[in-house]
Subunit: 250 residues, 2 copies
Amino acid sequence: MGGPRFEPVRAVRAYERVVEQVEEAIESGSLSPGERLPSERELMVQFSVSRSTVREALRVLQARGLVRSRPGDPNGAEVLPFSPATLHKSMTTLARVEELSLAELVQFRMVLDSSAILLAARLRTDAQFAEMESAVAHMRTAVETGQDTFGEADVAFHDVVARASGNKLIQICTDVVRSIVLKLISEKIADAPDREALMRQSIRHHEEVLAAMRAGDGPLAARLSKKAMYDYYAGYIPAPERPALSALLD
Amino acid sequence: MGGPRFEPVRAVRAYERVVEQVEEAIESGSLSPGERLPSERELMVQFSVSRSTVREALRVLQARGLVRSRPGDPNGAEVLPFSPATLHKSMTTLARVEELSLAELVQFRMVLDSSAILLAARLRTDAQFAEMESAVAHMRTAVETGQDTFGEADVAFHDVVARASGNKLIQICTDVVRSIVLKLISEKIADAPDREALMRQSIRHHEEVLAAMRAGDGPLAARLSKKAMYDYYAGYIPAPERPALSALLD
DNA sequence: CTAGTGCACTGGTCGGACCAGTAGGCTACG
DNA sequence: CGTAGCCTACTGGTCCGACCAGTGCACTAG
């Protein structure tokens, strides 16, 4: 010990340095969404690398959701506003590769959703509360008239709640996890024999949550929402995993 | 309406189809972590595309954290086990580009951590509980002896808890968000004038949480953990954002 | 049997070429 | 004079062939 600590000189590839520079420019704000990068042929001059290298760098940036390029576009690649698409992508592969069970996903939804409701109970605006009410009303009419928009209305409800929580991270993760869960069990839901009963029960639960929020009782609303989601999804989850789910219920 | 619904024929690029096929092979399990892809020159024969196209596809796969390639390796690219690295990456850029505030990140940690504790209170093994106790003990000795390992021990504690929750998603997200938060305020923490007082208070809070878990009172442990994290981080958060944070406290 | 040396691969980079698109300026027609 | 249509100068997407610096393994010389 003592003596100068030399760092291992990892061979840094040319395209990586291109990625770094562009990334830096974007994250520092000197390149804003909507702006255009120079053309590939221009970039290869500026970075003094070959076009292959420029293209590989652009592929990486594109994979990270930072830019998009369109063939034939007289301008260069477009700098994109951040979207949770890549977050969504990596979480989806996480779910598939890492064998995330449906139970874990639903459990995570319960956590996120109940927290969002707890926050929304205190921080929501009246307009947002009205949105929630109209979403639930929409759920009800969907069931009454036999329309197939129950799911959409349900999603809309939870979207407003997530927005009202004021936490973008909660909002994004809610969105991502929900879409994964829905994709996993969309067929099962459609085939459920007691589907209408489940929907009616769900509506009741949503109304109870709204009532608690109206009364200003955030913790109660949060608890109710966990219970609601548990009741809605428990049927699709293997019995041995249900105890872990119900462990979330106070 | 009526008539055949034609889908817009989005020009699908060659390298994308290569990506899809390899991704499919990996996620379906026919290509397991540790296995090797054929060499680039072999792939360009199998897919009958040029090497440039193969390389662009590999860059995308690499950016998604699915494979890694090393120059000179006689074997092809290596299929990687999933790692939250890309999740971490996209969340970090989210934090930088989308202006995720420190308050939101800490709030999210409070949500994740308290839920993990709620679950761990019921699902933990005795060995895991012993690990938690030893982590807290380590925190204490670090403060007593003036060692700089308080942070590590703290991280170790929350790591055990996340593991004990039995939910891999909670575990991964906890890890990612925590490292981002720590990076954001590592300097501030080191410079805090009342640092030792904060540490002692934090230890007390951890012990209270442990006591509640020992008593089997998960909800209490969860509530205490939220309070603990709030007290520990509130000082670093601008006053106007603190109400949103404390809204999580029951 | 071991230590050293090639060799036959690997991925990384380069340069040049062609294609199918697009956008905008220009021309020719109304 | 205005507009519809073409034309050109770009763009990104793909291909090819070449070279380099590494790596591992087989082979050879000790």
